[in-house]
Amino acid sequence: MKSVRLEEQEQARTVTGSAASRPRLAKLFSKVRGEHILYVASIVGMIMLWHVIATTFFKPQFFPSPLMVLATGREMLASRELFEHMGISLQRILTGFLIGSAIAAPAGLIMGSIRTVRALFDPYTQFFRFVPSIAWLTPVVLWFGIGEVSKVLIIVYTTTFIVLINTMVGVAHIAPNKLRAAACLGATPVRTFLHVTLPATLPFILTGMRLAMGNSFATVVSAEMIAADAGLGYLIFNSRLWMATDKIFIGIVCLGMLGLITDRFFRYLIVRFAHQYGPIE
């Protein structure tokens, strides 16, 4: 009798034990959704495809395999060469991007809200937004030298027009009822601007900034290819001279990863701090 009861107790204990651990496991697995598995499968599949194509059809110096790129990457990480290139590119991008956004968002809000200001500056906006930043590289280098200032200015230029136009579109999209409601609730034009126009436009500003971030990456690479002695653009272009295709691929992979990470981080900030403004995902 006694032993049976003990056994029962033991059984009961194991049951409760596994029952307690099961929800924890289930919780972990519930976070891993089907799409996550697809993400991983897609990345692994792409790398395998890369490997197969590179090793079957190409000589290594024309199309290096992922393993070769990985080995070169390790070397460059060990010599800190890669950190240097990534650091300098990222620094240029962020400085230019932040200065550009800081200029463009207020300018876009004011141009969007005040018709005379818009009429004054709109011709320039419409003209210069079609002139790619890289077209300015030579004059800018002539005026500001070959140093950091030129590269940052080029990125400021790229960022400004994208954020500016998005902000103006945002102001134009404010429901007239919101402005009317604010007016009959007693808001002066200045307060309407600060308490209605600004928050209502924020999602558009943030979207413009996300787009501008992508263009900043493109611009920094072009600028570094032409006028720099460090950075990912320099790495890619300089490796061309030595036929170091593996290093070019390192540059490409780093650009993609840095872009992805900064965009994810930016999106996290939007969701975390501005979700009620209705940001566009």
Binding site: R180, A183, C184, G186
Partner: protein, 259 residues
């Protein structure tokens, strides 16, 4: 009865001609006088210019000719004495919580923090939104959003409420409830209300007087009908049906009157 409170005298309105094409006048020689404390419904065929009347009274538009006054003061632009409840909930501020939406007008007018939230709470209670203070508009139903709009304008203590088909976009059940609640709010606050609708039953249920507009262009007031049904009104009562019939005939003849 008090003297005329909100007054539109011989008002015409026409949009500015575009590319030399003169726009037909929306309103021509429109005259309307509201007495203080009354519930007035403006009823008319769709597209006749009801909303234009409201926009003129709110000060969003300026009349081409004629005069608009509130308590003998001319109306030049939007003001806190005339509060507007819009049909669309896009008039709410989605980045503000319910209570901050309601307190918005008080904040703009510099009412201190403690006081404005006390007032906002009071009016949220009046529109039966207790417990919803900290939700964002996107978390509220259509009916709740219109309640927020009503609370928001009442918190600002206006002299008159201008309501532009505020229940037009709601489902039938919610609309019925809000109609009853609006009558109750009107009774408690004794505000003057100008309510625009194209729903005859809604007008008969709510109004002291119903103004029927002519078909535009160049719309004006064709008839004013006093609704002398006792309150609270019941939608199924015989008097209600008769009144509905009478007004509906007026509207139909108005719609047939001009092609």
């Amino acid at each position: 009865m008090a003297a005329e409170f909100l007054m539109a005298r011989d008002v015409s309105f026409q949009y500015v001609p575009q590319r030399g094409m003169p726009a037909p006048p929306v309103l021509a020689h429109f005259t309307l006088a509201l007495t203080e404390g009354e519930f007035f419904c403006l009823l008319g065929p769709s597209g006749c210019g009801k909303t234009t009347v409201l926009n003129l009274m709110a000060g969003f538009l300026q009349p081409t000719t004629g005069r608009l006054t509130l308590a003998d003061r001319p109306i030049h632009g939007p003001g806190v004495d005339r509060a507007v409840v819009f049909q669309s909930d896009d008039a709410l501020f989605p980045w503000l919580r319910t209570i901050d939406n309601v307190a918005f007008g008080l904040r703009m007018r510099g009412v201190p923090y403690e006081r404005r939230y006390a007032i906002a709470r009071e009016y949220l209670h009046l529109v039966h939104l207790d417990g919803q203070e900290h939700k964002y508009p996107s978390e509220l139903s259509g009916g709740m959003k219109q309640r927020v709009q009503i609370a928001r304008v009442l918190a600002n203590d206006p002299q008159i409420l201008l309501m532009d088909e505020p229940f037009g976009a709601l489902d039938a059940q919610t609309r019925t409830r809000l109609q009853d609640e609006l009558v109750e709010i009107w009774r408690q606050t004794s505000k003057t209300i100008l309510f625009i609708t194209h729903d005859v039953a809604e007008a008969v249920l709510l109004a002291d007087r119903i103004g029927v507009m002519t078909q535009g262009p160049g719309a004006q007031l064709s008839t004013i009908v006093t609704v002398d049904l006792p309150r609270p009104r019941r939608r199924g009562s015989p008097g209600f049906g008769e009144m509905w019939e009478q007004i509906n005939t007026l509207i139909e003849s108005e719609e047939l009157g001009r092609p």
